[in-house]
Amino acid sequence: MLRVDGLRKSYGPVRALRGVGFSLERGRITALLGENGAGKTTTLRIVLGFLAPDAGTIERAAGRVGYVPDQPAFFPWLRGRAILDLTRRSAGAGREEWEARVRDLSAALRFEAALLGRPPRTYSAGNAKKFAILQSLALEPDLLVADEPFATLDPPSVKRARDLIVAARDRGAAVLLSSHMLAEMTRMSDDFIVLRRGEVAARSGLTEFLERARPASAGEVEAAFLGLLQG
């Protein structure tokens, strides 16, 4: 679904990415892990076309793309319903089918329909995140990219969002997640990419990782991951 090769990006003297490469398959969730400043967000933003790489290539199969930003921001003069309607029009989806999807997703995320009548800038951080998830998943994306999708969500909402992302994966979407919530990542991800100082430090499947780390408890899983992240 997505092949990234040799991505390089600098911000002035800071080399954010130093030749990042990986590929994503349909029907798999890939977790992008790394400490702050490792290059995760830069990688995601280049993949999505918000940033231009200094070097490297991105090949993406045709299909719909969903994106959940770390800190969702929307045009302040638009109400939630208008944003969803613009998204529907852009995707060329039928009104009835779209509204059914929005209804189902709102119910699954416990996102109150009344909020759609207000501009998202008036939402709480948690509701803004739920709205971004709703907007992206309503597209039924073939590729879903999410930057800290669980940040600002309460624990029950984290579970609901996780279930929806897993459902998208089960429908055949390739999912690329960046998050610091290691417990969630190990629970739902099929593959792991660890970035360290702008380079891919490790890449493996969950089974492979667990076999190599041989953790005996949840605490050891976390410790093993932290060891991988810090090198």
């Binding site: 911000y11 967000t41 933003r45 999505l48 076309g49 918000f50 940033l51 231009a52 793309v65 969903g66 994106y67 930003p69 800190q71 921001a73 929307f74 045009f75 302040p76 003069w77 638009l78 208008a82 944003i83 613009l86 998204t87 029009r89 852009s90 907007q135 992206s136 597209l139």
Partner: protein
Amino acid sequence: MFEKDVFPLTARLAWLRLRGSRLAVAAAAALPVFLLALGLKESPSAALRVFLLFFPYLFLLASQDMSASEVYGGGLENVLFLDGRFRSYLWQKNLVLAAVGGTYACAVFLGLAAWGLGRGAFEPASVLQLGLGLLAGAYYIAAAGALGFVLRAGSNVVVLLLAQAAALIGLILSTTFRTGFVDHLAAGRFPDLGSRLLFAGLAAVFPNLIVARRLFRGGVVVLAGLVLALLIQRACLRRLELRK
């Protein structure tokens, strides 16, 4: 940079924004009422003259915050603008704002022209003035858009208005010791290079002037300014990235 499939999104977003702007809606609603009152008190031709002088400002009003607030506000970091579509959106917005402003201006002009014709006081030359005014309006949008890439939100329009105020004050003050340029301006003829350059600078800052004085040669200066502003915008957009 002009992706056809982005255009419906651009048109809808720009329209929603204009419709949601209380200032723009109030100005668009108040202008015909003011012109009607002026036409009744003075004459339809007086209302038309005032309209032709001031309507390019409607374009300037519409272009407030047209790039900076969106680029730095985070609204473009959305599934709607993936794969660099935000660049097409910002580029096409020039066209949409010009089309909306132009349609509105033409509608008001037609009303005033019909009123003037009914009273037998319509000057055909005002059609050319309308054309110059539309050019000035398009220039305002392009210039405000270009300024929007380097200035904070809202200040793009303020800077243009301040430049106009400075130009007018300079013009008024200059008449106390040197009337030459003002005379050339009144006559619409600029015999030497200095006065031509001064006129070009004035037309660039205050394009309404060429409409009011029917200085059709000044239209060339404004057209050049429009092209330059669009080129600057295009260069800024090509380099534009959405960073945190």
